[in-house]
């Protein structure tokens, strides 16, 4: 699938075919897309995940997680959960990760990088070695970095023809169910499966206008979108028909009937 089409097709899917398992190669591709995403200092050991698969993971674990996700219907239906987590101990790998980047010629002297520079300028600097400074910032940055990986994982799921969604849950309960140590924080749970609703899920969700989000030169000065580019993005499938599509209410009624859910 083309990148623009994958971005345009992504939705939070709330009805899954519980009866159709997800192929292992597709799960692996989703995780690889996350593993390869950009990461501050290449300290990728801070973002990890536990994969739960219907029929493979013990059912009591899966059921306990569904309960921790407030028993939401899409959690009950999805055959795969990817429980994304932040492992703060992963920041200990920062020095080694940077050194490795020098060794593979990703960080070069053209930009002032050397082993000595890492030791004397980077590691003592709390803007870069975030664990050396304010831990609130370290946690904020960790969440940001984990989110980057999850963003890729969402698009990889769409690329594989799957439906996906992020749901929240009771984090303390999730940590306990999955035996996560105290320095690990479960973040969002990514549900994965084949959509029971149409893949466009009733149309593209509302988003604020481009000009309200992006500024030119100074905060508050709207950056104008170009109508010609907008037309190109529509043609490429990134910008799609907005929700609700006219048959959506009927689709929801049919899905409610299928799953025994209130309308």
């Amino acid at each position: 699938m083309e990148f623009k089409q994958a971005v345009g097709n992504r939705r939070t899917i709330r009805y899954f075919k519980s009866w159709q398992p997800v192929e292992p190669d597709k799960i692996q591709a989703i995780l690889e897309a996350a593993r390869l995403q950009s990461q501050h200092g290449n300290a990728k050991l801070i973002r990890k995940a536990v994969v739960i698969e219907r029929g493979k993971t013990p059912d009591d674990v899966r059921q306990a997680l569904i309960d921790a996700m407030y028993n939401q219907p899409h959690a009950q239906q999805a055959p795969v959960f990817i429980v994304w987590a932040i492992d703060m101990s992963g920041w200990e790998s920062l020095r080694g990760a940077l050194t490795e980047l020098i060794e593979v010629r990703a960080l070069n002297s053209t930009h002032g990088w050397s082993r000595e520079f890492i030791e004397t300028a980077v590691i003592p600097n709390a803007d870069f070695n975030v664990m050396a400074g304010d831990h609130v910032f370290a946690e904020w940055l960790s969440a940001f970095e984990c989110g980057l990986a999850v963003g890729s994982a969402l698009l990889a799921a769409v690329d594989a023809g799957l439906g996906t969604a992020l749901v929240t849950g009771r984090r303390a309960q999730i940590r306990q169910i999955l035996d996560m140590p105290e320095y690990v924080t479960p973040t969002q749970v990514q549900l994965v499966g084949y959509p029971a609703e149409s893949p466009d899920a009733g149309g593209q969700r509302p988003s604020p206008p481009f000009e309200k989000l992006y500024f030119s030169g100074k905060w508050g000065v709207p950056l104008q979108s170009d109508p010609a580019v907008t037309a190109d993005l529509k043609a490429a499938g990134m910008l799609q028909e907005p929700a609700p599509l006219r048959w959506r209410a009927d689709e929801i009624r049919a899905l409610a009937h299928l799953f025994g859910l209130p309308e």
Partner: protein
């Protein structure tokens, strides 16, 4: 509870607004309101009482969720019919609570 009091109930009015927003026909709305009225008689409470007692606004926690969940299940089982038909009857009550900001656990089909 009189028919007038039922229709005037704040919780019922919210439910009616919700049904209208979903594009249900007048007949479908009336059918659901009749099921709701039947359930109120079944549990001996008004719609407003049900909404008030299921959730503690101060603690932000459910109080009588299990009670209502069990009653809805019993209420559904009172009619003969398929699982879907019985569940649909209970889902009218679940829908009423949802329109009033409260959620009861859903029934899961055997195959899920």
């Amino acid at each position: 509870m009189t028919e007038h009091a039922f229709d005037a109930s704040a919780a019922v009015r919210k439910y009616v607004e919700d049904l209208k927003g979903k594009g249900l026909s007048g007949a479908e709305q009336q059918q659901r309101l009749a099921i709701l009225a039947e359930f109120c008689a079944f549990v001996g409470r008004s719609p407003d009482q049900m909404v008030a007692e299921i959730f503690d606004v101060e603690t932000q926690k459910y109080k009588k969720r299990n009670f209502y969940s069990d009653r809805v299940r019993e209420f559904s089982a009172r009619i003969s019919g398929t699982w879907s038909e019985r569940t649909a009857r209970g889902n009218v009550i679940r829908g009423f609570f949802i329109a009033n900001g409260r959620r009861l656990p859903n029934e899961k089909p055997d195959w899920l």
